[in-house]
Symmetry: C2
Subunit: 435 residues, 2 copies
């Protein structure tokens, strides 16, 4: 593992660079754009995440001498490109949608401007970070909506790569989860951490009562006791006997959660513990959480499904050249691929958002150079990097607030968990749609 | 990012530890086991991967002074547990299936033995690594089978977390992929890297011909030219005109690949370039690769679907306490959870494999202490860590050869891409199946 991010890159970025160093076009001005052609099937919106992780990785996008030597030995680059990489760092500009903002098919969520060489090599790191973190945040936001104010715990770290786990905790928190089980994310990002005990804890003791007593002695009666190792009703009786009515919560991790929650609530009330909360944690996702809306559950722990993007573990963002100059000081010309199944609009895009009188988002369009700005519209991008230095560094709490505010600008039907088409599709703001 | 792995952990591991430090059971002998209750729907077998990444992370499972202070400040652990963590490192033993081996529902792929405290805290890191890497290797092995000897390139790094990308390249290579686009994986693990150019490369030049000329000048005629930026047939004609009949390969990344490959092959032959290979790279997975078996395609590049486990991005491994002693020198007693929907067999399991006369794997069972070993069976586990020191360190090439050999011990129907039940389910080798 390394702090440098240069080699976290697909080989073809550097072979392209090598050709451009050799043919002299490496320093020509260029614009690359990151966007998604589509949302995952049935999703109405996406939540952009990862920018706060990406910008430091772009600043750290360098190569040490050993890495450059290895690239030459492997035949990836020649000596001239080796010299270029030895001194490389990105010195261009990046504009992007603020982290935590919504995006739709065609939203130009991130625009990289600089020389052809410095822009092209960022493709892999830009996509890795944004595709992963956005997939998590987009799934998490739907779970938050489904939970309707009840707190969500992210606990999926064990279901994904150990470093992806930390990014998962961050992205889920930005999207509105209340806490994470991941300690590294707690220390690195200041996210509240929670967690009390697994079944192993109960099993390791000679009895459930002994296990609960040990936990309550160490953590106090406000702790959460896992009551389903043997029999849930018996577990709840033992829990209240050991911790008293000040018991913080019971956790149920198996069975029919709606049915078990109703029985648990009645039993807790009966035992004089009406303030003891019920936390549910078995294979939850936005659909199960929606279905549990009427159950007396006070909080949800979500693991696998949030860490894997609830069926869509990657966000299908792409990174495309949209404009390039044919000399170091020439004008930018728009470019786009025109093969059979993928047609894109070329040119550097500026995205605009329009809101109705109630503040709801009603339209998102883009213009290219020469197009007039739509009246009454707000630019969607903000500067996030200037001359290779990050200039966008909202706190985790600020990003979280931004996401919450952005979601309030969608109508209820766009927030529903039920499948539907994208709430918006972003096209060019002009009468003639030309490719 | 840090080399220490201690905090890549769910909080509840440390709150359990805290209770055990307080109640005195932290040093009691214990056995934990990692296994999957099921394979992903339709899969016949899984391929265990990640051990070569996991063992160094277990050796690095420590906490620095600042981390311990933070854990105390956060109320995760008390002062006695803080002292325990300050000096912590795992000093126990681990046995496991060799990396790259097959596994089935119930296979005890990894067994951790040590004190209750040192075993419990490894749960998250063990599961993160094995669940991720195994999901990739299991999907990749099916793609390798579907490709029937044609080489596969792993190029999914941009679809997953930037560090998961490196692990993805490793896992896919172990399972039989021939190369990766990921440079970090090339340097760290010695995996062959490949990659030439994206559409951006062609678009940045004034013409496709100019782009191809630049690439051939930098990389020689043996390179792979991407021919579908504008029109595939025209692209192929230009490619052969520029590179000559020694052109290494053309890459097609769009359209109906079977149809385009047939046309491309005919055109290349017609142009006098019968040795120029055809590489296909658009949204491939094991099913598409199978469907392309008759197409004149010489190699496949697989991205999203390998990096996301072809629909199953995590392997559903769990880590369970199976035996524990009630004192520091007491005997191990088997334990198992017995709630409604999850019944496990307690006790330290030893797994056994049996082969038929043709060398095919026909049976996998386990025994617990007291059971006789099945006649003519081979133990499935090997020691991988002794007294906290890794003792299993096969090279990447050795693991790759092990996987290939293990796959040859399955009958053709188990290797088919078509959905089916697990080829084997691993149960206790005894006449009475008791839980």
């Amino acid at each position: 593992m390394t702090h440098r991010s240069g080699l976290l890159t697909d080989r073809y970025e550097l072979t392209m660079l090598d050709s451009w160093v050799e043919d002299g076009s490496v320093g020509h001005p260029a614009v690359f754009e990151c966007f998604a052609r589509r949302l995952p099937e049935g999703r109405r919106y996406g939540v952009l995440a990862g920018l706060g992780r990406l910008l430091p990785l772009v600043e750290a996008f360098t190569f040490d001498a050993d890495e450059v030597t290895w690239l030459v030995e492997q035949g990836v680059v020649g000596e001239r490109t080796a010299a270029y990489l030895q001194d490389f760092r990105f010195r261009g500009d990046i504009e992007a949608y603020p982290e935590g903002d919504l995006y739709f098919p065609g939203s130009p969520v991130l625009t990289v401007r600089g020389t052809l060489g410095e822009c092209v090599v960022l493709e892999t790191i830009v996509l890795s970070v944004l595709n992963h973190d956005t997939a998590i945040a987009s799934a998490a936001a739907r779970m938050v909506t489904a939970a309707a104010g009840r707190p969500l715990i992210e606990m999926g770290g064990r279901r994904t790569h150990e470093q992806a786990a930390v990014a998962t905790a961050r992205a889920a928190y930005l999207a509105g989860f209340g806490s994470t089980s991941n300690l590294r994310a707690g220390l690195d990002y200041g996210i509240p951490t929670v967690g009390t005990a697994a079944h192993a804890f109960t099993l390791a003791h000679r009895s459930e009562e002994e296990a609960f007593r040990s936990q309550v002695e160490a953590q106090g009666p406000g702790t959460t006791l896992l009551v389903d190792t043997y029999d849930i009703a018996e577990g709840i009786r033992t829990a209240v006997r050991v911790a008293g009515p000040a018991l913080g919560a019971v956790r149920i991790d198996s069975g029919d959660l709606a049915e078990e929650a109703v029985k648990a609530r009645a039993l807790l009330d009966d035992l004089g513990a009406p303030d003891t909360r019920i936390v549910a944690t078995s294979d939850l996702d936005e659909f199960v959480i929606s279905a549990l809306a009427d159950a007396p559950i006070d909080g949800y722990g979500v693991g696998t499904r949030v860490a894997t993007g609830s069926g869509h573990p990657t966000a299908s963002m792409v990174y495309k050249l949209v404009a390039v100059a044919d000399s170091a000081d020439g004008p930018l010309r728009p470019v786009s691929k025109k093969s059979k199944d993928k047609v894109s609009v070329g040119g550097h895009k500026t995205a605009w958002r329009e809101y109705d009188d109630a503040g709801l988002l009603v339209r998102e369009t883009f213009t290219i150079p020469g197009d007039p700005a739509p009246a009454g519209a707000y630019p969607a991008q903000v500067p996030v990097m200037k001359d290779g230095v990050a200039v966008h560094a909202p706190s985790t709490e600020e990003i979280r607030a931004h996401t919450a505010a952005a979601l309030r600008r969608l109508p209820p039907e766009a927030l529903a968990v039920a499948a539907g088409p994208p709430y918006l599709t972003v096209t060019r703001n002009s009468e003639e749609e030309t490719a």
